[in-house]
Symmetry: C2
Amino acid sequence: MTPGPTEVPESALLGMARQMSHHRTPEFRKLLAEAQAGLKHVLATQNDVAILTSSGTGAMEAAVVNAVPRGGKALVLESGKFAERWRKLCEVFGIEVVRYEVPWGEAFQADEVARRLEQHPDIAAVFTTLLETSTGVGHDIEAIGRVVGPSPALLVVDGISGVGVMECRTDAWGIDLLAVGSQKALMTPPGLAFLAISPAAWRRIESIQRPAFYFDLMAYRKALADSDTPYTPAIPLVRALVESLRKIQAVGIERIWAESRRLAQALRAGVETLGLRLAAARPADGMTAVFLPEGVDGRAFLQRLEGRFGLKFAGGQGPWKGRIFRIAHMGLVDELDIVSTVAALELALAEAGQNVKLGTGVAAASRVLAQ
Amino acid sequence: MTPGPTEVPESALLGMARQMSHHRTPEFRKLLAEAQAGLKHVLATQNDVAILTSSGTGAMEAAVVNAVPRGGKALVLESGKFAERWRKLCEVFGIEVVRYEVPWGEAFQADEVARRLEQHPDIAAVFTTLLETSTGVGHDIEAIGRVVGPSPALLVVDGISGVGVMECRTDAWGIDLLAVGSQKALMTPPGLAFLAISPAAWRRIESIQRPAFYFDLMAYRKALADSDTPYTPAIPLVRALVESLRKIQAVGIERIWAESRRLAQALRAGVETLGLRLAAARPADGMTAVFLPEGVDGRAFLQRLEGRFGLKFAGGQGPWKGRIFRIAHMGLVDELDIVSTVAALELALAEAGQNVKLGTGVAAASRVLAQ
């Protein structure tokens, strides 16, 4: 239960074991077209979705170099390790950065974004994050979209960890560029990244000089019209993607969002009942970050959970290294995974000498699930 | 028998069907270390080899942006579609290009390279191609290496199609940056690319400002020291790579080079006996490009070969569209594949109304194989 790579459905694993075929064929174009349609459903968009052979960071780079020209200005919303990546990308590509920073664990305020857009009317793009994986915060992209919408700035969102598990309405919320990774809620192995591109983003891309070749979205636009990719795609990963998207579409993304929220609420109820404190002021529905109790060694605690129960959680990063642990719940995670996660936490805390009443966390989680 | 994606061994296909595990674990680091060692064998190098999640074009971009700073000067050796990609990459990243162009199908002359290096002592890198897939030419990298070696320029080679099938001695020939793709002679699905980086290349990379983030090799260097990758790798493709590399190492790269040469010689003998003309003045051992005879429609010819025999060849590109066809022979291609390819050509030419004596091409190919 780490925030990616997540478990991949059997049909997708078996899809990868098929022999290669050539990618510039009607059969493979049909597969790419199906992947496109499935991604549009998951991303709740009618926009084009480019399929990149890269990690999610590649899609972030593509968004930066295609949205803001060298010497342009960007507003970066910073509150964690992955938001920080937006700033570093902007700096590498010669973009002037205006920062709006909130402490780790807190959420961005839309009116603070609006204030900075007024102060700097030449901001070309606002970079933010749906699920900040380092803190477990789910940012209010809908509210941010409302203040960015009327401005000339593009809204660029890192949805790598959040899309497919927590509500994210690309078109309704006015997201111009949405970066998504394959290995999180999309239940596909790592190696593909996706970028939804709005008509306004296309106009920007057409109008600026882009320091990009592999990530030049104009090449993808030309290929997209033909259900093709500009460079040889990772064929087995595309096959896996199509299988996983079929599973998602069979349920429907709206229902997945609702289900994921219920699971997250159950986990949070269980965790808080055990006296643990959530790390995120606005917890995301795809991942729960929890402060370690005083006196519990993080490393030993996570090793005990993995060794005894085979349960792998992620530790903290940056300033929160050794202070938190992170439980991802997306993709194939179900009700009983949540219940048993809470049960394992109870046992591990008791063994670590914490004063927990066994069964109380599980009871709290189950009460949410029973509703 | 197209120039990639090539057939993938069963062990590699099955390796991909395994469930995901986390990549920052001792088990996965061990796999990455094995991949590193195998790649060093195949590339005949002691240099570091970075593993990128991208198509081969990504490795080419990485080579360009890490080897030559914006405003620097590069010598690009041009003679086909893929050599042209070096020039386009340089142009996009603000590098001044000195061109040395020879007509399609011809090979570069080392003394012409030397002359340009003398004329432009500020050339920071020479970009060239091992196997130019659009023409079937195998360029003399050894000779080019001898003239680039004493100059301050780095030697950068696109070995995407050639490495693993034709002789390529990275260290002995003085190749500073060698870009390789997974889906050609390495018998791995597309989606990974490799870059061998010499100590001189590392010194250059350290010393220049790099307009790169996803492809910034300094991030790979840091990760390499720890048998890690800077961004989430394409786990199934790494597993497939390790399986395919085991197969290559079991034979040994020197023996594969020699075998591939023999197969190429047999195919060329067969093709020429049928009265067909080779397109490449210096044919590569991994791919044979052949001019279509007068009066034969290329499209119909290739469709007949595919429809009747299930044999897929590639057509021509750019100025050679409709004028040539291209037969790749790398990876799992063996003696009988060569013989049956020539037999199929005989039958297809006869059906296209050409005057061929059935069996003569096969006999010529077999005589080479009998030696």
